[in-house]
Assembly symmetry: D2
Homo-oligomer: 136 residues x 4
């Protein structure tokens, strides 16, 4: 299993008139945390795109347990339970506030695709090598 | 069953550098379509909030089949399969492009809650009356 | 002078915890209204991009007189006071609510640029022909 | 003069199909940087709102010199040239990329207002005390 976590501070623009973070913004938090997770591995998603591999989101799910508030310093977790063998990768994600309360759980499925052909491909070898030690 | 559909034109700001609508924005489209569905019933979500009942989103799910592009005129469907008896309401949602291709399917679960007490409540009677004829 | 106006309904996600539209979102409304203005002329900004001409925003300004609220049906005006001779085009924009109160005034300057070379260019002839009758 | 700077990493959702940060998002970066500037002073904007003083944005301006790209680690500067005497405060803002290139300059004017009455007020004393040493 590979896990990673990032800190994200809630912006004013992300709140709505209920006084809480608008529900769709968590998917942006999830993405930031995935990008940071890849960076921790000594790689970046931006680099991957420059080599012609993109990762469109294919499916998402999210449960909202407690609201996040303006200026909260959130901890956003990324959990990769299985090393993907094919074109599909599935992340579990969790958001906690500063009191360590679980606010949100999510699941994001992405594909590895060649930008040029828009055909499915596999995880770039370089990233695979970095991830393998976590799955032994 | 109650169904409704709205037209939403994709904004430039909603695209990302993949040249397609960023995945989280569909939840905003879903909400716009739900608001229009309620308006068709002669009621508005804004009115409901003014009477003290809010509808926080509790769970969402979304599958991305085909991308939506800048300036596409999308058709966003709202499908209510069951009249909610308690505090919970579940919408199915679909997004189509101008070629009538299904781009995205989603599911959004919301609760009826009293804004003051943040306790669960039931659908306002006025809205219930409007919806009942669709479920006979 | 060329003027055009569009209707835009305020989305829930566009409000913030002050209960009003977050200030930066008006620039998205401005853009929607500009795109609709071009469409009225029998042309689309999307088409222009497909022919290789893009219009990056170079400068913006905005004054906020009164807040827009959730579900408000706004009227967003586009005013082109001068036909651009070179690479630069300047739009004035205004936002009104349903009571015809002026909420926001803005100014947006864009350049015509060739996407490939990122060099400044002039307005596509086709659009120029459509606009000229308004400036005689 | 009081100055402060924050680091903000560009999110994928903030890019558009031109492959650069969409122009309106800089106003969110500006706000994050202002909030961090206040935090450096041992105070938070969130606290200020809890004491009943809000700061709606009254006017903004922005010039776009160079684009910011996905995953860029931006430096966002806040410059307060004058200590506000009345209800109005004006910030100058600048955005730099990792090569120290100036990308964007902006100006944001806000009012101090009492949330309850929506009347103009002055800067909370506590914040004034923190800022005064920078203006001697």
């Amino acid at each position: 299993m590979f896990t990673s976590q990032s800190k994200i501070r809630v912006r004013y623009a992300e709140t709505d008139q209920m006084g809480v973070v608008y529900h769709s913004h968590y998917f942006q938090y999830f993405e930031v945390a995935r990008a940071e997770a890849i960076r921790e591995l000594g790689f970046t998603y931006a680099d991957m795109e420059r080599t012609g591999v993109i990762m469109p989101v294919i499916e998402v799910q999210c449960r909202y347990l407690r609201p996040a508030l303006y200026d909260d310093l959130l901890t956003v977790k990324v959990i990769l339970k299985e090393l993907p063998l094919h074109h599909k990768i599935e992340f579990h994600q969790e958001v906690y506030n500063e009191k360590a309360e679980l606010l949100v759980t999510g699941r994001v499925v992405l594909y590895f695709m060649e930008a040029k052909t828009m055909k499915r491909t596999t995880m770039p070898e370089k990233l695979q090598e970095k991830l393998q030690p976590f799955f032994r």
